[in-house]
Each structure stands twice: as structure tokens, then as C-alpha cells.
Subunit: 432 residues, 2 copies
């Protein structure tokens, strides 16, 4: 009988992985809460029409898990991200006090072709500010992104920032590209295929040589906001959208003051719904694409509520971060259990006394296992050590008759016989 | 434009609900970890064939969300509980060290007709011990159930225990019922329809009057294990399965010693896969059915792995517990935010200084909001109070020029102007 598998592209998480994932999720929750975001949750399923028309052609035709309920005939979809569900949530709850700051950590599903680092089910970790059109909201999102990545153990990264209005103002209005999508698509590959590659792709699009040259020059604009933004203003500041974007970004980024923030005219981002600032974080090493991404989407909620409600936010790419952290040795899967103590029962006769010892420890706040296999003391000990449990608490007939337990500290090798009333204290001291 | 809704039978959780849910989930996690259980996760989706044939007729024909992937033509199902996925997980990971103790808190989906207290998506909170056939494992599950309910704030409850072998040995072998399922179904309704109701249902099944009388007498057997188990042994102890079950339960329950544990011959439980002890917890008030349930299922994992691996566990019914806790006033939805401090910006000119104050507070571990709406100080203050935020930190031109912030403790009415370097300390003291 071949062992059964989870569905292709889906993953099981055994304890050593879940212990790491839970630790990282807690850190993110902590940062989100520090910034005044509150948790919400929404259903895994939405009606198909809720997601339809929000993500662009590819996502909708290929990547959204959708299905028809055989009973009702109704079409449902598994959520594809947490942003459209947020927009629906805001519209469903018209009484929310604005600005509404929520974080949401939950699974999303994509019908990807499974490959390294690409999963059909993964966690998204989002923080969004609903109800503020102001640059300080975008600044807060950038600042949160930096603190989130730091709390996850990274310091070598850049936060690339651009603005959809800059792209539209410069490429569409100033350069006169009537069909800018293929240009954006080429520009978006800069990190992957390099300048030469982008140049070739642009040339193939049939733009004049002069236009290609200007595009290339534009996407070379990249650096500290204080340098790049004035340069953009100098060149294209006469364009209304450009001027708006430059002043919005200047105001937002002046609040952040972190040299890892760069304005980068080659940043595009795929999703249809962005309307203003967009951002993406990339690690210096390893080069694995973006580990966080977001931006402003002032039109999305209005699609549900009928009145425009501005919003901006970021999604931290925890899955990629975990892959990177394991690769860099920032994270490890060393911890196989949260259990700190194992009660080793040396003789069946002592079992009910050993159970009392285990109960004491649990009541005292120590994560404790007790033998459930009727294995020999040797085997119990070996299994506990294999799990990485730090404290063995031996209970045999001697301990049962004297009302004690023998606490063995695996690391130090120290062994102490303690009275039942002191076992918790002795174990807590040994754990440190 | 009518506000959009989550799908029928599905729920959004706004912050005040999520804050409560997260608190209760943490408490459960803590208890599970105290008992030496480690977290795992499995996919929301399984192949349909993984779930098929495990839950009985009704679940499979009506209650499992299943669908055909339009691309691959393959049938998938949303997980219906966490037990079958655990069995599949154990079979998928043949190297697991036994006993394997895992907890799993995650959403499951059921195609129920939505009604009060019955949802199409809800959280299951399970702890299971895989690999031990021994009574002490079942005893640990009972003990864990009690501690879990206590940690959730309840003390008035009973844990009803029975054993599938008792049911089989007595009803099928001793009473000679060849088709016991409708009898079990009638017996299972005792709590709902009372003795008279069960009597009527049994009579309608065409059993002889003597048999109905014996069934009624049997299901009246209910009480402390030390009284009921010897009585069952006295009457039916000659039956091999009965003798086995009685000695298994005696050994398991002797470890627990809690007067809320009762052996109850009318406990049946619906799921097909149980093979030994079964349990169910019910609150004394309100009478809302069981709030935890579980049992031993020694055959389930073998369906996947080809070799029998014993297992036993419990599922804590957090959704019903929340409904009950809110009804009893054990829980409230008072806490609308996790934010403790709001920086009130009294003048736009002071904004970037106010931002520094907010950054200090966040770095110091205080969950902090800062104005993002350019609202008046009055409005900022009113909104913060409405959210229940305890500390207002006023920053205006005076504070900016003096390098201070004015900390206002909403509860005490105290107001202190503190230097930037002391703001964190002052706020932490005020929060207490």
C-alpha cells in the first residue's frame, strides 16, 4: 500500500515546521498589533462573483480555485488573497469606524502549477489601512514592512517604492504609449533578465528606438527618495499625475527615514487594483524575488460598497521568507516539540504516582509528557532524548514510596531527587 | 447597492469577535501543550477519495463540501473534520515516533443547512494520541478535556464516557439485536426527547416488550465509574467485549479522579470510526448539546497505512463554547481593539514629531495608533474613546517644541507631560 499523499501542490506541516511557523506568525502579529492593527477573519470561501473582475485576466481564467456547488448550483471560489475579502468585508459592515486598521493572517489558495517555492495553499499575512487617502497611511505601511521584516530576523533588504500614477503619467501620458501593458510586463522583468533583456523585449514590441531609449533611461531611475523624486519632478513635473505622485511619495517617505527605502521606476506589480503608491521588499540574499508587497487601492472597496473608500496595505510573504530563512540559516527546524519534560515511569506499579507527578508539572506550567506505551525506562528515555526534551523526570518504586521524583537535566547532566511539592520549582529552575 | 454578504452559513469575524476567539484559542493551545501535544497542520483540501468511506452515509452524501476541479477533472473535498486528515497524515509520514501526540486547531467545512449555532465553516480544536492502545492514553484524553473546559472558564459540566465495545457486547451480543443502528439512534436522543420518547421510539421498532424494557433499564445505567462499571460487569461480564471494555475504562478512569466524569450507557456518538472508549462533555447550563467529543478509533489509520495503528483523542467544540460563554456572560465582546495608546495630533505642524512619539511607543512595546485622517484633536479623541483605548498621548506645537508628550490616562483622568525619553515608561505605568 503506497502511503497516501496530500493533494499535489499542498503541504502537511509536521510539528518541527509548525513550531517555526507559529513562532514567526506570532512575531508578525506582535508587530501588526504594535502598529495599532486589529485581527479579523473572513471565510475561506466567497461567492465567485465576489472575486470575479478584481485580479486581472490570468488569475481569473487560471489561478482561482472555483467550483460549482453540486447541490445549489451556485459558484464558489476559495479566496485568492485577503485584500478582495477585506474590501467585501468593509462593504458588508458599513458601520466600521474609519480609519479601519486590520490585520489578517490566513490561508489563500491558488491553482498554480506546483514548483519549488510555489504552493497551491499558503499563508498570507496582511495589514491594511482603510479610510485614509493621506500619505502618512502609506508611510505607516512602509514603516510596518521594515519592522515586520526585522522582527522576522532580516536586516539586509530593500523596500522598493513606486506609484501607479508615476507609471501612468510618464509612460502613458508623457511617452505616449497607448498600450502600456506589454511595456510594463517587460519592465517588470528587469530583476530577472537584466537591462539588456528588457531592452530586447522592448525593441521587439515595435516601439521606436527613441522611445525604447527613454523607457530604459526611466527605469534606470532608482535610489534614495530625496534624490530620485526631485529628478522625476524636474523631468515630468508638468504632468498632473506625476506631480501628485511625487508630492504624495515625498510626504509619505519623509516620515520613514530608513536608507533601505528606494524609489524605483522599474517597479510595476501585477495586480490590477492598485491606484497609487506601490511597494515591494526584496532581500539582499538570497535572491528569491519579493518577500513583501502592497500598495494603495482606492477603487477596490467602491466596487462593493458603491462609494469610494481609500485603502492601502502590505502583504508579508511569509512562505518565501521561511524558505529564505532556512536557506540562510536564520531559521532552523531544530525544535521538534514544545514539550519540556518527560516523566519516565520505571515500573508499572508506580504509574498512578507518576501520573500525579505529571499532573503537578502541568499545573505548574511545564509542558509534560508521561509514558503511554508501557515501554522500558531505557526506551522512554531514548525517545525523549530523540525529541530533544530537556528534562527527564524519573519515577520508580523508590520515588513512589518516598513521595519524590528524580529530575535529570539532560544538558547539564545534573540529577536531583525532589519532593513532590518541589518538583515544579526544580524543573523550572533547570529549564532556566 | 445592497451590501455584499459572506456566503450563506459563513461568517466574518470583526476585531471584537476575533480578539475573543484568539484569546480562547491561545488558552486551548496552552493546555494542549501542557499535556505534551505538538501542533501540526494539514491542507484544507484533500482528495475526495481520502475522505470517502470514513464518516458514514449522511456525511458523505450530504455534508461534505466536494467538487470537481474544472481543470484536472479530479474530485477534491474540503476537510470535514481533523481526524481523517490526521489519519492520512500519519500514514503519509511512516517515520513518526510513537506515541505521536498532536494538536490541530483549524477550520473545517460542512454543508449544513445554516441555523442558529450551526455553521458551514467552523474551527475544530483537536488533540489526539496516536500509537498507544492503552487505557492511560484514554485517561489522558479525559483529563485533558476537563482541563481544557476549565481553562475556557467553565466548571459546571459532566464528561460522559461509554465504550463502543460495551454497546456492541450488550446490545448486539447479549440482547441479540441484529440491526442495532436504529436502536442506537433512538438511545442517542435520550437527552433531547427523554425516557418516554426513547421508549416510544424503541417500541415502534418492533422489538419485543421485554427487549425494550432491558434497553431502557440499560440506558438508565449512569453514574460514577466506581459504581456503574462493577454493575455492568456483574450483569454482562461474561461477555468478552464487555469484560474488556469494563477493565479498560476502570483503568483509564481510575487515573482521572474527577467527580464530573460519569459512565453513561446511553452515550452513542454518531461517527462510524470509533472502536473503544467514547466521550462527550456537556455543560450543566446552558443545555446546548455536547461541547467536546471524542474517543478511540483503532481502525481508522489502518485504512490508509495498511497496518493497524491505535489512536484516541478529543475535539473541543469551541464554536458552541463561545455561544454558551456569551449567553452565560462568561465571555463578552467588550474589547474592540488590542491598541492601548492613541497619539492625538493637535496640529499638522507637529505631525512628524508625533510620528516619532508613536515610534518610541511602538518600539517600547505599546500597541499604538496615530492619526491618519487629519481629523481635529476633538474627533481623534472621540474616536479613540469609542474604541476603548485607555491612553491618549497628546502632541501639539508645545510638546513638539519642548520634546515632550502629554499622556492622558482615560480611566484615572490623570494627565502627565513626559519627555520623549520617558513616554514609554509613563504609558506602561498608566496601563499597569
Amino acid at each position: 500500500m503506497a502511503p497516501p499523499r496530500p493533494p499535489r501542490g499542498f503541504r502537511d506541516f509536521p510539528p518541527e515546521v509548525m513550531i517555526l511557523r507559529r513562532r514567526l506568525v506570532s512575531r508578525l502579529e506582535e508587530v501588526f498589533e504594535r502598529y495599532g492593527f486589529d485581527p479579523i477573519d473572513t471565510p475561506a470561501l466567497e461567492y465567485w462573483e465576489t472575486l470575479a473582475g478584481k485580479y486581472g485576466e490570468e488569475a481569473e481564467s487560471r489561478l482561482i480555485w472555483r467550483f460549482q456547488d453540486p447541490w445549489s448550483g451556485r459558484w464558489y471560489a476559495l479566496r485568492y488573497d485577503l485584500t478582495v475579502p477585506l474590501a467585501r468585508f468593509v462593504a458588508s459592515n458599513p458601520g466600521l469606524q474609519m480609519p479601519f486598521k486590520r490585520y489578517h493572517i490566513g490561508k489563500v489558495w491558488r491553482h498554480e502549477e506546483p514548483q519549488k517555492g510555489r504552493y497551491r495553499e499558503f499563508l498570507q499575512c496582511d495589514a491594511d489601512i482603510v479610510g485614509s487617502p493621506h500619505p502618512e497611511a502609506d508611510g505607516e505601511v512602509v514603516s510596518l514592512t521594515i519592522d515586520a521584516l526585522e522582527s522576522l530576523g532580516f536586516s539586509g533588504f530593500r523596500v522598493r517604492v513606486n506609484d501607479r500614477r508615476l507609471l501612468a503619467g510618464v509612460f502613458e501620458e508623457e511617452l505616449g504609449l497607448s498600450n502600456p501593458t506589454p511595456v510594463y510586463r517587460a519592465v517588470d522583468k528587469l530583476d530577472k533578465i537584466g537591462e539588456e533583456g528588457v531592452y530586447k523585449e522592448l525593441s521587439r514590441l515595435g516601439l521606436g528606438e527613441a522611445t525604447v531609449g527613454r523607457v530604459m533611461e526611466l527605469i534606470g531611475l532608482r535610489g534614495r527618495p530625496g534624490e530620485v523624486l526631485p529628478e522625476i519632478a524636474r523631468r515630468y513635473g508638468g504632468n498632473r499625475r506625476v506631480a501628485e505622485a511625487v508630492s504624495h511619495l515625498e510626504e509619505a517617505l519623509s516620515l520613514v527615514e530608513d536608507e533601505r527605502v528606494v524609489v524605483d521606476m522599474s517597479l510595476v506589480r501585477g495586480l490590477d487594483y492598485y491606484t497609487g503608491p506601490i511597494l515591494e521588499a526584496v532581500l539582499d540574499e538570497p535572491r528569491i524575488g519579493s518577500v513583501a508587497g502592497g500598495g494603495r487601492y482606492d477603487g477596490l472597496i467602491g466596487l462593493f460598497s458603491g462609494r469610494e473608500i481609500p485603502a492601502t496595505g502590505v502583504s508579508i510573504g511569509l512562505e518565501r521568507i521561511i524558505d529564505a530563512g532556512l536557506e540562510l540559516g536564520v531559521y532552523s527546524l531544530d525544535r521538534k516539540t514544545v514539550t519540556r519534560a518527560a516523566v519516565v515511569v520505571l515500573d508499572r506499579e508506580a504509574y498512578s504516582y507518576a501520573w500525579r507527578v505529571a499532573s503537578e508539572l502541568r499545573r505548574g506550567g511545564v509542558n509534560t509528557r508521561i509514558d503511554l506505551s508501557r515501554a522500558s525506562g531505557q526506551v522512554q528515555r531514548r525517545k525523549a532524548l530523540k525529541m530533544g526534551i530537556e528534562i527527564l523526570v524519573f519515577v520508580g518504586p523508590r520515588e513512589a514510596s518516598r513521595g519524590t521524583a528524580t529530575v535529570y537535566n539532560v544538558r547539564s547532566g545534573e540529577r536531583v531527587e525532589a519532593g513532590l511539592e518541589d518538583v515544579v520549582k526544580v524543573v523550572l529552575e533547570a529549564i532556566g
